[in-house]
């Protein structure tokens, strides 16, 4: 994709978000959209790891929840302003992701997925057993200041504005990742993903790029965690639980991870579906379990893959005829 096309699509997506925030009046619908958008950011974080490293994380709720806890703790202890707290949290997650990544991306294949699950769950257990500051299993409220980035809290938390903020963050995350991955970093990580040994032969150090992708995905999950903390004003160990990681991985697979935006689509589908299910939502685990199995078996590239095939199928047919003519 050319830079012009990426920039164009980013502008269109931003305008679309602005239009939706103005046109949708119902605050229930808007808050559903907001939630879907936050999880779309989270899912993109998990998806980028799968796309660039070929590794499925079953424990990314760790970074999602840790971001909320870190911001909450910093604000409670009044260590710094909220704006700095957000930046410090994301920087901390990047560093933590890099360090954890350096250890666990060396573990081959599926053992990696098992490790992420184990690590995530251990943090869940320690957060729910912790007493004092974090409130243990009960969770803690996050004391956001009266103004954040120059906006008063009441303006910021209006459903339309909050949606627009989350949507803008989502679009910017996709934009930043597209720009980053179309360059050298993208090529290197794809080479390492496809054949680590050959990548080593041509002189690429393979451990660091893989750990960097892991750290990148941790930061993106952390951004979603900060947005969620802003949206709910609350953080509890549930945000670290494996079922959240699993749910997000499910969005990634159902949406399709080969395209950068596929996981976001998966998140939107997930929330709309869950809303439609309504009374049956108690059985969401079984329903999504079956949906997951169906998608994996019949359309491994997910909804995004199916859409792309649909579009490319129409484009490819005339192109094929044209090349035959020569």
């Amino acid at each position: 994709m050319t830079i012009r096309r990426i920039a164009l699509m980013t502008m269109v997506a931003l305008l679309l978000g602005g239009a939706v925030s103005q046109l949708v009046g119902s605050s229930t619908v808007l808050s559903l959209f907001t939630q879907a958008t936050i999880y779309a950011v989270f899912a993109i974080g998990v998806g980028v790891l799968l796309r660039q490293n070929g590794m499925a994380s079953f424990g990314h709720a760790l970074y999602f929840g840790a971001a909320g806890y870190a911001v909450g703790l910093i604000l409670q202890l009044q260590l710094m302003s909220a704006e700095l707290a957000i930046l410090a949290t994301l920087a901390g997650l990047a560093l933590a992701g890099l360090l954890i990544g350096l250890v666990i991306v060396r573990v081959p294949g599926i053992a990696f997925g098992m490790l992420t699950l184990a690590i995530g769950q251990m943090f869940y257990l320690s957060a729910s057993r912790a007493r004092g500051l974090t409130g243990g299993a009960d969770g803690m409220n996050i004391d956001w200041p009266a103004t954040l980035f120059g906006l008063s809290q009441s303006t910021l938390l209006k459903p339309a504005n909050l949606f627009l903020l989350c949507w803008t963050v989502l679009v910017l995350v996709v934009f930043a990742l597209s720009m980053l991955l179309r360059g050298r970093f993208g090529s290197i990580t794809e080479a390492v993903r496809d054949n680590e040994e050959r990548a080593r032969f041509i002189g690429i150090t393979t451990l660091l790029p893989r750990a960097a992708v892991y750290a990148l995905s941790a930061v993106v999950a952390g951004i979603a965690g900060v947005l969620s903390a802003l949206n709910t004003g609350f953080i509890s160990p549930e945000s670290l639980h494996w079922s959240l990681s699993g749910m997000t991985l499910m969005m990634v697979i159902v949406g399709g991870y080969k395209a950068l935006w596929g996981p976001a689509l998966g998140a939107v589908v997930y929330f709309l579906f869950k809303d439609i299910l309504g009374d049956y939502a108690n059985h969401w685990m079984a329903i999504f379990g079956m949906a997951l199995i169906t998608v994996i078996v019949f359309s491994p590239t997910g909804i995004a893959g199916a859409l792309q095939r649909l579009v490319q199928g129409k484009k490819a047919a005339p192109a094929a005829r044209a090349s035959h003519g020569h």
């Binding site: 294949g109 053992a111 490790l115 699950l117 769950q121 251990m122 494996w242 379990g289 997951l292 491994p300």
Partner: protein
Amino acid sequence: MLTINLFNGLVYGALLIVMCSGLALIYGLRRVVNFAHGSLYMLGAYLGYSIAMRSNFWVALVAVPAIMALLGVLLDRYGFRLLQDREPLTVVLVTFGLLLIIEDFVQTVWGKSNLSVPAPAALSTSIDLFGTPVPAYRLAVIAVGAGVALGLSLWLKYSKVGLFVRAASTDPTTTAMQGVNTDALSAGVVGLGTALAGLAGVVSAPFLSLSPAMSSDVIIDSFVVVVIGGLGSLSGAFAAAMVLGMVQAIGAVYLPDAAVLLPFVLMVAILIWKPAGFAGSRT
């Protein structure tokens, strides 16, 4: 204090041996990490509860592994075999979907509250062990773990089917060319592995309470064990299970606040030292 904790570490290690041998066997033959293994364990425990309430514990101890074995054979026939040419990640995600379905099923049928199964009368006494009284039932759990470890090792080493299993774990294609029916073998091994998950569930019921969280608690530790032990290695898993049980037991005495994090620390330490686990390089 330390004696009883070490003893409880042995008990938990024994339970992990039963769990992990199932995981390792299935991985060996099908190259599938069964994420639903913990849910199958939970299903086994709840089935055991229902059977034990209607008749008695001993019936459950026999019936549950039998039911689970049948489930395992079906899982292999209509799941793993059909998916054997797919990427490993695909199959793992299918087992993850299965996990969600089983968890929902168990919560729907048995509810979310904690249930408990009394230990069978013959084993609800306590026995004096080096001056510390310990529940006889827990001794029996250790015996089950040791029995499973010994039985599986001998079976794999000395029986003809065991030889086939080892051969197919190393190279399924060549083994099939030598005339071994690897599909039937796999169905049997997945059945056995699932039966072991069920056995672990029944055995754990009288000393751990039944709750919807029981599956994730045990699967996390089991994953740590099989990763530390080396995926697919039975002896590696046995050793790692005992190490993990002991580390938790000793941690509960000396570092009670950090005991829950110790498996994680142990795992990171071992993986820095040996990324492929105790038993080497099979992936």
